[in-house]
């Protein structure tokens, strides 16, 4: 029995081929490919060569799924289901219980070594992983089984990428990211809390169309999305360069849309494309666009570790919107320091003079005994 996703039929649905091509173009643009790639996406989808996707959910909040589905652009959830063949997804499928588990096994058998395994949520490892169990199996077992036979593994969200919220200190369940479990297997991390759906979609479509995965950085994040920091493309960057900062929430600077760095914005060290790829296709729908400092959700060493309002070092300082003077200010020597230095030098010179006088006197064959008072008045 093949599990069918509950989505409207293309013919009777609310969207046209034009809408579909537009979505493909957006997805292609998100991964830095041109319109030609979008056409190949469309062709691949129309041939029915949709990638089989098995979506596993472990220690997570379903936020990544929600961000993928709750886009304000009409019918994007339907379109997503048309671009990929979502064969197992605990939030979305209508089946339940043994029926659902059977669907999973069926999909794995039918597309062994070819399907895309998407992991959402962290994997608890303490006590052999008993803190997350589905259908009587631990998350650890399920991931090793499903992930191990997948053609590609994509970890969506910070939890699956490196542990996310569940791994915050003291990490009671020993939560880790998917790549910690699937050692030796290429895992593409799409961190974010939630992850930007277009970064995910672009990666899946590239795999489906070209059979390749995007170029990754040292944390296995696609470079097309995580190659730059938030700060580098931030719409408030001009305020940073000019030194205009919001000092506290609701102050004049905050209302004027000034830079949020001093409120603890982690943009300067956070690698993500949120500043250019906003959420839900709504312009300005992302933390900084809404007046809140970046939380650093894509960075393992920042999110849930560095306090929200702690400022961070600038990763790559750039010149400000100010200029050096023609003549740099020189330090000035204070008169007191001059006096003190003069007194010390004078004392030394006097002592040297008296010592040399004594030397000369000693070198004479028969020096007359000098009066004690004369020898010790060097400091006078």
């Amino acid at each position: 029995m093949t599990f069918q996703c509950p989505h409207p039929d293309r013919e009777s649905g609310s969207f046209s081929r034009r809408d579909f091509v537009r979505l493909c173009t957006m997805a292609a643009a998100a991964i830095g490919l041109g319109p030609a790639a979008a056409e190949r996406f469309v062709e691949a989808a129309e041939r029915g060569a949709k990638p089989s996707v098995i979506w596993l959910q472990f220690q997570e909040c379903t936020g990544c799924t929600e961000s993928l589905l709750r886009t304000s652009h009409p019918a994007v959830d339907d379109l997503i289901l048309d671009l990929i063949s979502l064969d197992y997804h605990e939030t979305l499928f209508a089946a339940a219980g043994h029926q659902a588990e059977a669907a999973l096994r069926q999909a794995m058998r039918a597309n062994a070594g070819k399907y895309v395994c998407v992991v959402e949520g962290a994997i608890p490892t303490k006590e052999n992983g008993i803190y997350c169990m589905i259908g009587g199996r631990t998350a650890l077992d399920i991931l090793k089984d499903v992930g191990g036979q997948a053609g590609a593994v994509i970890a969506i969200g910070s939890c699956a990428s490196w542990g996310g919220v569940p791994s915050a200190d003291p990490n009671p369940t020993g939560a880790v990211g998917a790549h910690e479990i699937l050692r030796g297997k290429a895992v593409v991390n799409i961190p974010g809390c939630p992850a930007n759906p277009y970064n995910f979609l672009g990666t899946v479509l590239q795999y489906a169309t070209y059979g390749t995965l995007p170029a990754l950085d040292s944390d296995n994040r696609p470079k097309f999305a995580y190659g730059q920091t938030i700060h580098e493309q931030c719409p408030r960057r001009a305020h940073f360069d000019a030194g205009r900062f919001a000092q506290r929430y609701g102050d004049e600077g905050h209302r004027n849309g000034y830079c949020l760095y001093k409120l603890g914005c982690k943009g300067p060290v956070t690698h993500a494309n949120c500043s250019v790829q906003h959420f839900g296709e709504v312009d300005g729908a992302w933390p900084i666009g809404l007046g809140h400092p970046c939380f650093g959700c894509t960075e393992q060493r920042i999110a849930f570790r560095v306090p929200l309002h702690t400022t961070v070092d600038i990763e790559r300082p750039m010149p400000p919107d100010t200029y050096a003077p023609i003549h740099a200010a020189q330090g000035r020597v204070s008169p007191v320091a001059t006096g003190v230095a003069g007194a010390i030098l004078g004392g030394l010179a006097g002592a040297g003079f008296m010592a040399s006088k004594k030397l000369s006197d000693d070198s004479r064959p028969s020096p007359p005994p000098a009066p004690a008072a004369e020898r010790t008045d060097a400091e006078a």
Binding site: M318, P320, T322, A324, L359
Partner: protein, 289 residues
């Protein structure tokens, strides 16, 4: 204890007199720039102060950002040339009169730093570019003091410090590229080329738009000539380019220094005088015993 204070003072005075008595060497002819001299032409009227050149320079030369002078250390904002800034854009603003100016090594035709450098760590090498060889540097910092433009900077903060200055991106030149600053300048306010051609171009600009520029190319003859040339709409001394005259900057000190050691006469005379004093004192000492 053969020497008396009196004798020592006498000897010192003798030596001083012999040094002072040497006439400075006859004024040397102003050296001409090498035929293949390369340089820059900076036009202050074109510069928009974007500082792209400073960013490119830092990248090309692998310099650490200089955040010390900026509030909260957020910016790479050197206030002047520094061990972490081989070029910097400065602003002159007085009332409505404004001008940016790019500071970097001027690559003098007769560089004072090279004249002051005792082992030749700083020297004019290929294309007249003043380059630095750290293997020859002893860290005396005479170059810092000698340079009339305040260009060479010493890495005081490092355990094994070097001198840092613009070398016209010599690694990039070697691989057929132009300096980083001229490559990225969005308005060609700073351009790279042969000094002779840049000078012609500068004069052409002045002739083409009279009134736009101060009618002078700074660096043509200033301080004996420099390989980095400047055009400006404000007087050059206001944007940190001092009036140096046409004499090479190291001319005076060099004529004295070289004069003192000419033929090694003065040092030989000094040591001879000291020897005579020593022999005399020893004899007197012996006879006194």
């Amino acid at each position: 204890m053969g020497i008396t204070r009196r004798a020592a003072l006498q000897a010192m005075l003798t030596a001083g007199a012999s040094a002072a008595g040497v006439r400075p060497a006859a004024a040397a002819v102003v050296p001409a720039p090498p035929a293949d001299a390369l340089g820059l032409l900076y036009d202050a009227t074109l510069c928009i102060g974007c500082k792209t050149c400073t960013v490119a320079c830092r990248d090309a030369n692998g310099l650490e950002p200089d955040t010390t002078a900026s509030p909260d250390r957020l910016y790479n904002a050197p206030v002047d040339l520094s061990p972490r800034a081989k070029t910097v854009i400065k602003l002159y603003a007085k009332g409505a009169v404004r001008s940016y100016v790019k500071a970097q090594c001027m690559h003098c035709v007769d560089p004072a730093c090279a004249s002051g450098c005792m082992l030749g760590a700083l020297r004019k090498r290929e294309h007249g570019i003043v380059t630095y060889d750290p293997d020859l540097c002893i860290g005396c910092r005479y170059c810092e003091v000698a340079c009339p433009f305040g260009v060479p900077k010493f890495e005081f903060a490092k355990a094994a410090p070097k001198i840092v200055k613009c070398e016209l991106c010599r690694e990039r030149l070697a691989s057929g590229k132009e300096p980083a600053c001229t490559e990225v300048c969005p308005r060609n306010a700073v351009v790279f080329g042969r000094r002779a051609e840049l000078l012609t171009e500068a004069k052409r600009r002045i002739a083409e738009t009279p009134g736009r520029y101060v009618p002078k190319v700074y660096g043509e003859t200033d301080g004996g000539g420099t390989q980095v040339l400047y055009l400006s709409h404000v007087p050059f001394d206001t944007i940190g380019l001092p009036a140096l005259g046409d004499e090479p900057a190291p001319q005076l000190s060099r004529s004295i220094q070289h004069g003192v050691y000419r033929g090694f006469v003065a040092p030989a005379a000094l040591y001879a005088a000291l020897g005579i004093v020593m022999v005399r004192n020893r004899r007197r000492d012996d006879s006194a015993r």
